[in-house]
């Protein structure tokens, strides 16, 4: 049975992400060994990995680093080619650095920076909170069906990849920014698929079937 490691480092959306993984697997009619875990052995050998995250970049990075061997184990799994999905701040952590409360090093798996959103129209609110539709950028199998659909966003910072080709979907809130990124077997979404009703479960189902 395929193993799916949901990285457990105290993220607020972990429980929802776990429920959504189970729901996606159920809809696919596939049995999966889904575990919320900080066990480096399970993570390093997992068939797929999902990194949740809400709150501040630096706090999430600290939380991850505080779990012995977790970052190394995720790195080993990614190097082996296991599909990896980061969600919200879990996506932002893929960047080289976060620029919230000073500069914090990220995982650096998709080069780029995470900085505060500054909508061109000052009347637009931050956090970017609520449902917004995404536009396909660089074509990618994981996001092919997601284009044009609404997903639930809630964030004040956004990821700008160095290589624009790694942006696979974008969203508009007083300017376009990355809604989804991907590079090889590593992908991330700024929105919350675990909170995006059918559109979100569909996306997680796709992730469970994705062969990079």
């Amino acid at each position: 049975m395929q193993t799916i490691a949901l990285i457990d480092y105290g993220s607020g959306n972990q429980r929802s992400a776990e429920k959504a993984l189970w729901e996606a697997a159920r809809r696919l009619g596939k049995r999966r060994d889904i575990r919320a875990t900080a066990d480096p052995d399970f993570i390093a050998s997992a068939d797929r990995l999902l990194l949740p995250g809400v709150g501040a970049f630096a706090a999430c990075m600290r939380g991850l680093a505080a779990r012995d061997g977790v970052i190394e184990a995720m790195g080993a799994a990614v190097k082996r080619g296991a599909p990896f999905l980061g969600v919200c701040v879990g996506m932002q952590l893929l960047a080289t650095r976060g620029l919230e409360f000073g500069e914090t090093q990220g995982l650096g798996w998709i080069p780029g920076d995470v900085a505060r959103i500054t909508p061109a129209d000052a009347a637009l609110k931050v956090p970017h909170m609520g449902w917004n539709d995404i536009r396909a950028e660089t074509p990618h199998p994981l996001f092919a069906e997601a284009a044009g659909r609404d997903f639930y966003f809630t964030h004040s910072f956004a990821f700008t990849p160095e290589d624009p080709a790694t942006t696979t979907a974008s969203v508009d809130h007083g300017g376009r920014f990355a809604a989804a990124v991907a590079k090889d077997n590593v992908a991330g979404v700024q929105f919350h698929p675990e909170k995006s009703q059918a559109s979100g479960i569909d996306l997680i189902s796709r992730f469970l079937e994705w062969t990079p």
């Binding site: 607020g12 429980r15 429920k19 709150g55 609110k125 931050v126 956090p127 609520g130 508009d172 809130h173």
Partner: protein
Amino acid sequence: MTLKVRVIPCLDVKDGRVVKGVQFLALRDAGDPVEQAQAYDAAGADELMFLDITASHEGRRPIHEVIARTAEVCFMPLSVGGGVRTVADARALLLSGADKVSINTAAVENPDLLAACADAFGSQAVVAAVDAKQVESGRWNIFTYGGRKDTGIDAVEYARLAVEKGAGEILLTSMDRDGAKNGYDTVLLKAVSGAVTVPVIASGGAGSTDHMVDAVKSGGADAVLAASIFHFGEIGIGEAKQALAAAHLPVRLT
């Protein structure tokens, strides 16, 4: 192409049971918050709000179980408010499965509670609930303890302070309009939404879909919340969205 106006039904929960809940659907157990949440989920609600009106706030409360059970079956944003007095209270609700915690009286008495919660969980998880009542033309005061106590604090000033402290959203309830069904207080809404940089949820006074359109168009609200008109089936979630769409406002049609 843009962020959608959110339509948010609010369920009052007491001792783990819905008070004045959905009455237009043949639910197996009309008092079960989870069944009601599922009905709204299916109807295309953009978010759900639980207001816990349980009197006692000691220890683990039934609301935690309600949220946990709802989060198992509803893959949508869940907010919860009522009786949140400490960071530990907020943490317990978020760990149960809530995405946002709405803080009312305790934050008015100590705005630093908003900062402490934003530091711990991020601003996106912190909603400042503002219960405002007009005291003179163009002036609204914050009322706490369920609208019984006039704090003398200016609602617009407080909203500004709450955002400065770290609130990621304002839930603005007009005490004058609450339950009156004669429309949201769009003047109050406009005053607050113009004063803060975060989203504002309009609450109190919804009686028709026109009121919802007005809350956004005249009041500058980012989301509209209602309770009884949804529960009694006077307005459906889909109907509210159609009306907003007809007024050329962006909505998510499911």
